[in-house]
């Protein structure tokens, strides 16, 4: 079976800036694959190349079995796209937007009504099909874009930050639709996100930072590779607690949001020892499994938020945002 996405040594340079520095990837058919990284890490540029919108400076990529440079139209016919920014016509109704798409993609006329109903039902917009898109909320627009991206039954659906700018409730409903989608369609989903919690919805995740793929694995395996749980304790004397942790347990702790925080293997088992041996009164304690935040931290040495603020104003990001 051919891979849904196969990338070898893909490079993109904008002038002197190397936005994507030779990445390799293989995504199997039917997989939900997540690209995780801060803004400016090169995720959007990579998706742009896979979607034939950005011409690679080097390397090769095949999507649904077709080369993104030499078989551009074949690739386009077999992919669905949902961009970060809306690409709907507000003057048209939901139905007219979909019909426009069906015509551009040459969906056989006989199946258009059924297919349209199916995708609109899936995102819960069938009742609103005759309404003008300009009257839709941000979440409804995003759902309509997902429906439109699926209309021509793509083999690979690209979702570039599908939930960015949406409220938490809408975000979770978008994820519910994506989950349902996996039940009803035989489709590969390739998405980018910089929300850690969303990456957990993926079968596999690639962590990208500064134009390179740092690691690719399942969320569970990535978390296991970090190995340690995060323990937070509240004490009356934080400085004494940190000193005691270093002396008696050899642990490196720091104060984060008013709590003494450190990482330790098997956190729950460690708590009784902590109470017995620390010698500083403890007011509260919490133990958390490693999150993808911790994973990102352990692979890149920085939090996603810090990585983002360091890269703000990256010219490449602005280029990608502009309509092409």
């Amino acid at each position: 079976m051919t891979a849904a996405v196969a990338v070898e040594g893909l490079v993109k340079r904008f002038g002197d800036v190397e936005a994507v520095r030779g990445i390799d990837l293989d995504v199997a058919a039917g997989e939900t694959f997540g690209f995780l990284g801060p803004n400016g890490a090169g995720k959007s540029t990579t998706i742009g190349m896979l979607c034939t919108l950005v011409e690679p400076s080097g390397g090769s990529a095949r999507v649904a079995g077709y080369d993104v440079v030499h078989e551009r139209d074949e690739v386009r016919r077999n992919i669905g796209l949902v961009f970060q920014d809306p690409t709907l016509d507000g003057y048209l109704s939901a139905e007219q937007n979909l019909r426009f798409h069906a015509e551009l993609y040459g969906v056989p006329k006989a199946v258009v009504p059924d297919r349209m109903r199916e995708v609109l039902d899936m995102v819960g917009l069938w009742e609103r099909r005759a309404s003008r898109v300009s009257t839709f909320s941000g979440g409804m627009k995003r759902r309509l874009e997902i429906a439109r991206g699926l209309l021509h039954s793509p083999r690979v659906l690209f979702l570039d930050e599908p939930t960015v700018g949406l409220d938490p409730q809408t975000r979770s409903s978008i994820w519910r639709y994506i989950g349902e989608l996996k039940q009803t369609e035989e489709i590969t989903i390739f998405l980018t996100t910089h929300y850690m919690d969303e990456a957990e919805h993926c079968d596999r995740i690639a962590i990208m930072d500064q134009g390179e793929v740092i690691v690719v694995d399942t969320p569970e395996a990535l978390k296991a590779s970090v190995g340690k749980d995060r323990v937070e304790i509240g004490t009356d004397d934080d400085a004494a607690a940190i000193a005691a942790l270093r002396e008696r347990f050899g642990l490196d702790a720091h104060v984060s949001e008013g709590m003494v925080t450190f990482a330790v293997a098997s956190g729950e088992a460690f708590v009784p020892r902590l109470f017995a041996e620390l010698g500083v009164p403890i007011r509260s304690v919490s133990v958390a499994r490693p999150s993808l935040d911790d994973v990102f931290m352990s692979y890149t040495g920085t939090t996603i938020r810090d990585a983002e603020s360091a890269q703000r104003g990256d010219p490449m990001v602005r280029m990608m945002r502009q309509g092409r």
Partner: protein, 293 residues
């Protein structure tokens, strides 16, 4: 639904219900048609544009024409200036509507919809041609409104004349929309588009002879007039109208002299050919621009 039941994962070739056929001329024709339809839907939903399109001819014919006729009555050989202005007003109305239609590409870019079109598995040319046809249709509709006013400025409602005017308006509209689409290919901001088209279109309009007869002009003006492609759309419009007017030979010679090159009277057929060629060149340039966009 039967058409979309997923098959087993081991058969990737038939994973989804809808198999989009490969491209070709039929795919491109479908794309052209839907891009064209969208322009019409958008126009029909925009009440302000419809009201404007009704008001514009009134402005050109009755305010501008009516106002100037007091000054010009001595030089028109007894012909109402508004009658003389009629073909020019028709050209102007078509021209402004067409350029406004082309501006929709800039909006499409701003609101992201252009990207939806640009990533589709169709040739970019289909989008450009669909846009040009859409703009031309809307502008020709504007032309029909102006033609409807003909009786009020002493131009008879002759079926042959109406048909010819409509055809010429359509051609002019197509050329101007193509010009606008070509300009819009690289422009990302509405203000820039408006500034550029005003800067280019106004001179082309004023030079075209839409507002004055094209003989006896100063040498430099005559040269610029003959280089302006819009001249060759305005002149046939005027010839068609004057062919259906009952005016003196002197008035005809003075007001609708026709375009000549170094004394050679350019036939209407050649004029129409020039406009058609200019339109094709602009469409070709617009397509080339969008291929790279």
């Amino acid at each position: 639904m039967a058409t979309t039941t997923p098959t087993s994962p081991s058969a990737p070739a038939s994973v989804a219900g809808v198999r989009v056929p490969t491209g070709g001329i039929r795919a491109d024709l479908r794309a052209i048609k839907v891009v064209w339809q969208r322009e019409l839907i958008r126009f029909s939903r925009d009440r302000l544009r419809i009201v404007t399109s009704l008001l514009q001819p009134v402005l050109f014919l009755f305010v501008l024409g009516g106002g100037l006729s007091r000054l010009a009555s001595a030089g028109t050989e007894g012909v109402d200036l508004r009658t003389f202005m009629f073909p020019g007003a028709l050209a102007m109305a078509v021209l402004f509507t067409a350029i406004f239609s082309a501006a929709s590409i800039v909006w499409d870019r701003e609101y992201g919809f252009l990207r939806e079109m640009l990533v589709a598995p169709i040739r970019r040319g289909s989008i450009v041609i669909g846009k040009c046809l859409g703009g031309a249709t809307v502008a020709a509709f504007q032309g029909v409104i102006v033609i409807a006013f003909a009786g009020l400025v002493h131009v008879p409602y002759a079926p042959g004349m109406i048909l010819a005017l409509f055809g010429l308006a359509l051609l002019l509209a197509f050329m101007v929309t193509a010009f606008g689409v070509m300009a819009a290919a690289r422009i990302t901001q509405m203000q820039s588009f408006m500034a550029l088209t005003q800067m280019l279109l106004m001179p082309l309009l004023f030079l075209s002879g839409a507002l004055f007869p094209v003989t006896g002009l100063p040498r430099w003006l005559e040269l610029l007039n003959r280089l302006d492609p819009i001249t060759y759309a305005v002149d046939p419009l005027r010839r068609v109208v004057f062919a259906h007017l009952d005016v003196s030979a002197a008035a005809r010679a003075k007001l609708a002299p026709g375009v000549s090159w170094w004394g050679w009277h350019v036939p209407t057929g050649v004029e129409v050919l020039i406009v058609a060629l200019a339109a094709l060149v602009m469409v070709a340039l617009a397509i080339a621009q969008f291929r790279r966009a």
